[in-house]
């Protein structure tokens, strides 16, 4: 197997983690990674020697994610009918999540995709501002404001959740 493919293979765990933070649902996240890998293999020749495979792959995946998010937004709000009582169910426990993890994952899903991507890129994936701005294709100032707003929004949502939990406890 050639070096490029070996390098791509080595990045899959990171791509999966990034996808999971963007989409939450495991299968959907792996579908996104799959689309990313397919596109990457078609464009293997575009990959400059010396360019970090991680940055190259993250850029491809981010474009896939953001293009589709925009399409969805253009088509308008997509919502199902209210679920019947029997259909409503909590998220399947496909991954062992404690309450704190679940709350923060839920909150992360609730902030805007642009902010989510920027925050995750830096706070979880450990990219520098310059790298993240490059991957997301936005100026550094935009990236910074997305990170700052994303963090504030995330914290606000967690505060709300904590407040609601407190109210429920009081009601009991």
């Amino acid at each position: 197997m050639d070096e490029k493919k070996a390098a791509i293979l080595g990045e899959i765990p990171r791509l999966r983690r990034y996808a999971r933070s963007l989409l939450r649902d495991r299968d959907s996240a792996d579908d996104l990674v799959q689309d990313c890998l397919e596109r990457a293999l078609v464009r293997l020749d575009n990959w400059q020697t010396g360019e970090s495979p991680r940055r190259w792959l993250f850029t491809i995946m981010h474009h896939l994610f953001i293009d589709q998010t925009r399409k969805v937004n253009r088509r308008g709000e997509v919502a199902m009918l209210p679920l019947e009582a029997g259909e409503a169910q909590a998220i399947p426990a496909e991954q062992v999540e404690n309450i704190a993890s679940r709350e923060i994952i839920d909150a992360l899903q609730a902030i805007s995709p642009d902010r989510r991507a920027a925050l995750v890129m830096v706070a979880i994936e450990g990219f520098s501002y310059a790298e993240a701005a490059n991957i997301l294709g936005v100026p550094a100032g935009t990236l910074m404001s997305r990170i700052a707003r994303g963090r504030e929004e995330l914290r606000g949502l967690l505060d709300d959740t904590a407040r609601r939990r407190a109210i429920r406890i009081v009601e009991r």
Binding site: L22, L23, S28, V72, G76, E77, V78, M144, R155, L157
Partner: protein, 263 residues
């Protein structure tokens, strides 16, 4: 060097390792002098730790074989049905962003599983509604006074046994109907009106291969479509009514349509 003023922006930069090393001491002093900022910084640090912890496990999961196969060039050819649907989760997330965190109890991955086919049906239905419901004199081709002919004609053209639902209980009277193109086939549109002149339309086609139901709105404050698809037919009820009312009317129309199809 004169110590510069720090701001909340620096909290983020410090957290992300972007604060120049020679400013670190001054920054820490600033934090110590501003308990509120220090508390904020501490919350962000804790949130980041929680975020990292929440996703740390993903790196240890075995890589799914389907992903490895792609890199090895052994990926099976995708069929239309197995086409990646990850973006639907993005749609669900967009919806959750509106609904807030509380939305998760409804089950994130059960929401927003719309298929482009049904969006397409809803879009066609909304487009037809926008054009014809606004027409005063030319809203329909065949008026309700000629209901029997309307039903026979549309049934023959669309290829379904169509019975115009009676929505009087919901306050709507049939105005009439028309035949419309729907992709490569045809659709019937039935227009209803209440005593205030509010109009809703019912859009029915014989083209559909899958089961689905949902609500679709193409723009803010625009009309919404409540739709159902099943094998062999699809229908959408479009209007600018409050969601609950539209859903109630749609349910009534749908059950009568079903009864008509079977009859």
């Amino acid at each position: 060097m004169t110590p510069r003023d720090f701001s909340e922006r620096d909290i983020h930069m410090a957290l992300d390792g972007e604060l120049p090393g020679d400013e670190r001491v001054a920054y820490d002093a600033w934090l110590d002098a501003n308990p509120e900022m220090k508390a904020r910084s501490a919350r962000y640090v804790a949130d980041r730790a929680a975020l990292r912890a929440a996703f740390a496990g993903v790196l240890d999961e075995p890589v799914p074989a389907r992903l490895q196969k792609i890199v090895f060039g052994e990926a099976p050819v995708k069929t239309a049905a197995s086409r990646s649907r990850w973006w639907q989760a993005a749609a669900a997330a967009a919806m959750l962003a509106i609904g807030g965190v509380g939305g998760y109890v409804a089950g994130i991955d059960r929401l927003g599983l719309e298929d482009p086919a049904e969006d397409h049906l809803a879009e066609q239905a909304i487009a037809a509604h926008v054009i014809y419901a606004a027409e005063k004199r030319h809203a329909v081709e065949v008026p309700a006074s000629d209901k029997d002919h309307l039903q026979t004609w549309l049934s023959n053209r669309v290829g379904l046994k169509l019975v115009a639902p009676d929505l009087a209980a919901e306050g709507f009277q049939l105005v009439g109907g028309r035949l419309l193109p729907a992709g490569e086939s045809k659709a019937a549109m039935l227009l209803y009106e209440d005593d205030k002149g509010e109009r809703i339309s019912l859009f029915v086609t014989a083209e559909s291969a899958e089961k689905a139901k949902g609500t679709y709105g193409s723009e803010e404050n625009g009309p919404e479509a409540v739709y159902w698809l099943d094998k062999g037919y699809g229908c959408a009820v479009v209007g600018s009514l409050p969601r609950a009312q539209l859903t109630a009317v749609a349910k009534s129309a749908y059950s009568q349509l079903l009864a008509g199809l079977a009859g």
